[in-house]
Symmetry: C2
Subunit: 435 residues, 2 copies
């Protein structure tokens, strides 16, 4: 099949779209393609996800069962059977790219996916990688795996990189309204890649290579990591000078140009900001260059949970109480407001530090009824309901996540002491301090 044939099939929505990896990225993409009128087939090694989809149940908080039902029509299916890859004309890989415990890229999921699907590659397929990764991954990892199968890239099979830009909980933008970057291994690959996404996403932006596309995604998240790191450092400086950093950021935000407000917090979490920048750090080493802003923001942001615990220790100290034996309520466990996502949440590290110092820790999160077991963490805690009595019996409440459902006035009225890491209380007083 020539690229022209495949482009025509994609434009006519006659191509079947395979989405591999049905998590935070793959699930919404699958639904978008289904809603756009394509035949879609979702792949995941996790049979429970497949069962959920067959039962029209969402397994991600911010997607409703109704949305899943609407998408999973007779034109949509999901499977754990990877032999069915051969049914698809497009294969979009949406698997996670975490870090190893030595903070190096862990491409296990990409590589195992490629191994799983490689026997079923067919001529006239397009493979798109959406996972965030270091510049060069598509050419150095994906392409060799495909050419090993004896097919020619840009003629038999087309390969593109198109970074996911999902922002769970963002009410202004969703999958099909966020512009999509596409870079191709060859010009024919690019042409096919553009056709692939133009059928589903409002705006598709072509760039000159896959490694430029890979670098774009990293820059976006490096920009965030560094700006958050900067304001977290500024918090520690302002705090020492007796200046409230939230008042400072609010004030600077009145400048109508040249400034973008970032607010400090208890650290960074989620699957992007704490991880993605280090993909560039790792790759840069091969070229003998350093990514010092990334290293510095990593250091500052990773130090925030300890900073918050120190703040709690200090305020308790002034009430003549050691942290050991004090009752501490952690408010919010998810890594950001209004989501149930616990991946990399600073709340976990705050709780672990508190426990290691002998504090008696409870937590509340309306979106996280119990803290699940995670890589390297096992806490066995269940969310405690917030009542007047519960607040009164705790020595200090640490606001870690500013979920919209919290009644912060109620909490302030009954809590003995509050360490506020999110600026939910803009006015500080005798029982509220910044953390």
């Amino acid at each position: 099949m020539t690229s022209n044939n495949l482009v025509t099939k994609l434009r006519d929505k006659k191509a079947k779209i395979g989405v591999i990896g049905l998590g935070y990225v793959g699930l919404p993409l699958l639904m978008e393609y289904a809603n756009a009128g394509f035949d879609v087939l979702g792949f995941d090694i996790d049979q429970t996800k497949i069962d959920n989809l067959h039962n029209h149940k969402s397994y991600i908080n911010h997607f409703s069962d109704e949305a899943v039902t609407a998408a999973m029509s007779d034109k949509a299916d999901a499977t754990a059977d990877f032999t069915r890859v051969s049914e698809c004309q497009a294969l979009i890989i949406c698997v996670p790219t975490p870090l190893t415990k030595f903070r190096e890229p862990d491409l296990t999921y990409i590589k195992s996916t490629l191994s799983l699907i490689e026997p079923y590659f067919c001529e006239g397929q397009v493979v798109s990688l959406e996972s965030t990764t270091w510049p060069g991954t598509t050419e150095e990892v994906v392409v060799p795996c495909i050419t090993e199968a004896g097919v020619e890239i840009g003629k038999d099979i087309f390969v593109v990189y198109s970074p996911e830009r999902e922002d769970p909980g963002n009410v202004n933008f969703k999958t099909n309204t966020i512009p999509k970057i596409v870079g191709g291994v060859t010009p024919a690959c690019l042409e096919v890649g553009l056709a692939l996404y133009e059928g589903c996403v409002g705006k598709v932006v072509q760039v000159s290579s896959t490694k430029v596309a890979e670098m774009i995604k990293l820059l976006e998240n490096i920009h965030r990591a560094v700006n958050i790191g900067l304001v977290n450092e500024m918090k520690t400086v302002a705090d020492r000078m007796g200046i409230d950093i939230f008042e400072v950021v609010d004030g600077a935000a009145t400048k109508p140009f040249g400034f973008t407000a970032y607010y400090p917090g208890p650290g960074v979490g989620g699957h992007c900001i704490p991880i993605d920048p280090f993909y560039l750090t790792w790759k840069a080493r091969e070229f003998g260059v350093h990514t010092r802003f990334i290293e510095l923001s990593g250091e500052i942001n990773q130090g925030m949970p300890a900073y918050v615990v120190n703040k709690a220790t200090d305020v308790l100290n002034f009430r003549n109480k050691p942290l050991k034996g004090s009752k501490v309520m952690v408010l919010g466990a998810a890594y950001k407001k209004n989501v149930d996502d616990m991946r990399g949440s600073p709340a976990v590290e705050i709780i672990e530090i508190l426990l290691s110092k002998g504090a008696l820790v409870s937590y509340n999160d309306p979106h996280v009824p119990s803290i699940p077991e995670m890589r390297g963490h096992k806490l066995e805690l269940e969310s405690t309901e917030i009542t007047k009595e519960v607040l009164i019996e705790h020595d200090v409440v640490i606001v870690v996540t500013n979920h919209s459902s919290y009644d912060f006035e109620f909490i302030k009225r009954h809590a003995n002491l509050i360490v506020d890491t999110r600026g939910v209380y803009r006015d500080l007083d005798h029982n509220v301090v910044r953390g």
Copy 2:
């Protein structure tokens, strides 16, 4: 006079406004107050500025003679006679706050201004400091000088801090449309300060103290310095990987949330970005805290001129030419586009490094006919006209400032080699490289 009386006078525009220091900040402020209908009196120790104003001549490129003429009505005057401070009800200090050569705050201009005006303080005056400075300056430097004169702050004299936010060359915002931050030493001071600026500026934002206002201004410029530093570091990394950073930033800028585009360049210049952040660094030392993002951005940004020269050396090398003896044309001398401001311009350092390595250097800048003598620099160069012949006879052209008036297509057609630090050429080819 009570604060109420002074507030009423200010609201009724019956107060005479003294502006001290008639440079990039003071001159536009003087004109705004005059245009708003106040009696104004400008002060400067530089008699040539005063003479210019009396002759209705602008001495700053981006203000026209007509604007100066319109402002210098019969209600406006300028003088080098500081005894006339006693005529004014408001004294707004707009003097520079540079760094010493050891990169420490140099408050000489603030202190000498206070000494000059102190004998003429009168009850019922408001003193506003607009110079960018470290948090605490107003309370620790300005207030003692005034109380020494035997007057009570907040009763006899009112003291506020309100940072200037001028952005020369910005066509979207000017003095009276940029919101103005005001912090007062006492509540009465704040009340007077608000009245002072509300008569002249569209939006005035009150904050809880002078040190918060001081910190706000620093955060604004730290934010810029760090974001420019980050993208300059990303340029060096991308460059090594064979990726064009301008394509990457353009691509990331298509993300409609969570990313703000900053572009790399030949270093930072002007009187704010290279200087202001170190005011916080210096003050933070007193509190035993570090400002590592500021230090890192300083290091990266200050290293860019040398990086650019290395780039030029490399491209000449591949044409079998050493830098020594090569003819190098530096395009643009001002620190940013469309201004004539040479303060801290990276062009100066690039030229100095080139000369120190034996290059034969010319420059062109339509806004800078000759490079003036500056603190620590004396170059004695005059702008060379850009002609086909001039371009041909130079071995390499370095684009340092992207003035709108440049015909970059013409330059590309005739130049042998171009090192482009500003991304004016989005497509690179055999004779254009990124610098």
